[in-house]
């Protein structure tokens, strides 16, 4: 079953991303736990698209204003997840090395979330009953 393989692969990459994030906090040189606040952005990032999928009635329109607003907001959350460590590093609260690790972790985690949407949310028959 292809779904299981994809699920295992995605959880692996999610774990890799979280490892990068925790490395940026817990390594000997860094020891600052401020980057953990990007976890909030990870949790928030899929929410607008979930809401838009629920709200927009699935007609044959290929797009809708609601869905575009959701993409806009999701992009904002993703950009914020990248902006926060850069600002923290710029004000010398965390080091630039830690910032780089957080950015790497961000990229991996958001690609994982994107992968979830592609693998499990691509079809029109997406519904919560599948879960």
């Amino acid at each position: 079953m292809a779904g299981i393989k994809a699920l295992v692969g995605l959880s692996f990459s999610g774990a890799i991303g979280l490892t990068f994030l925790l490395l940026s906090c817990a390594l000997e040189d860094y020891q600052k736990y401020w980057p953990l606040f990007v976890l909030i952005f990870y949790v928030l990032s899929p929410i607008p698209i979930f809401i838009a999928r629920r709200v927009s009635d699935d007609t044959d329109a290929s797009s809708s204003a609601c869905r575009e607003l959701a993409y806009f907001l999701t992009t904002g959350i993703v950009v914020s997840a990248f902006g926060l460590p850069i600002v923290l590093a710029h004000t010398t609260i965390i080091k630039w090395g830690a910032c780089g690790l957080v950015l790497t972790g961000n990229a991996v985690i958001f690609l994982t979330i994107l992968g979830f949407f592609i693998v499990f949310g691509g079809g029109d028959d997406f519904s919560w009953e599948q879960w």
Partner: protein
């Protein structure tokens, strides 16, 4: 090892996405990147220069007005302005035009004001110039984000 480049093909890869269908999505994402990058630039400047003498807090008004203009411009659809939408709305076509006019005036006004702040508030008095540049880039990013969000999308895909 011989011939292992034979499998490479140009042009007809399987991942041919229909860019016409995806146009609205791409425009939304691009606008989101511009808008929120602008706000993070000003956050960076505000954190870096918390002192009122170096970076007067009233200068934040400019970005707030730009954001308000962004919302005003994008809250009205193009169809409403042209008058070819199904419903009139509560103010009709004229109301939509006036609303959009005010929105664009605020957008241009904040962009011009940010340039004024950059030169009048930072370059000429010989202060550290980074907050002024941040204000200018914040307003420019928000302005162009608004334009991309407004004109990059097509409303034909909604029907």
């Amino acid at each position: 090892m011989s011939g292992f480049l034979d499998g490479i093909r140009c042009g007809d890869c399987e991942c041919n996405v229909d860019w016409g269908e995806r146009r609205n999505t791409i425009a939304s994402v691009a606008a989101g990147v511009l808008f929120f990058t602008g706000w993070w630039i000003i956050i960076d400047a505000a954190v870096k220069y918390p002192d009122e003498g170096q970076f007067h807090h009233a200068y934040h008004t400019c970005g707030v007005i730009a954001t308000l203009a962004f919302l005003m411009i994008n809250a009205v659809s193009n169809g409403q302005v042209r008058g070819d939408s199904y419903s009139e709305g509560c103010l009709g076509q004229t109301g939509a035009r006036v609303w959009l006019f005010i929105g664009f005036m605020l957008a241009f006004g904040s962009l011009i004001a940010s340039m004024w702040i950059l030169f009048g508030g930072f370059v000429v008095p010989k202060k550290p110039v980074y907050p002024g540049i941040a204000i200018f880039f914040q307003n420019a990013f928000i302005f162009f984000g608004g334009l991309v969000f407004k004109f990059g999308r097509t409303e034909d895909l909604w029907q």
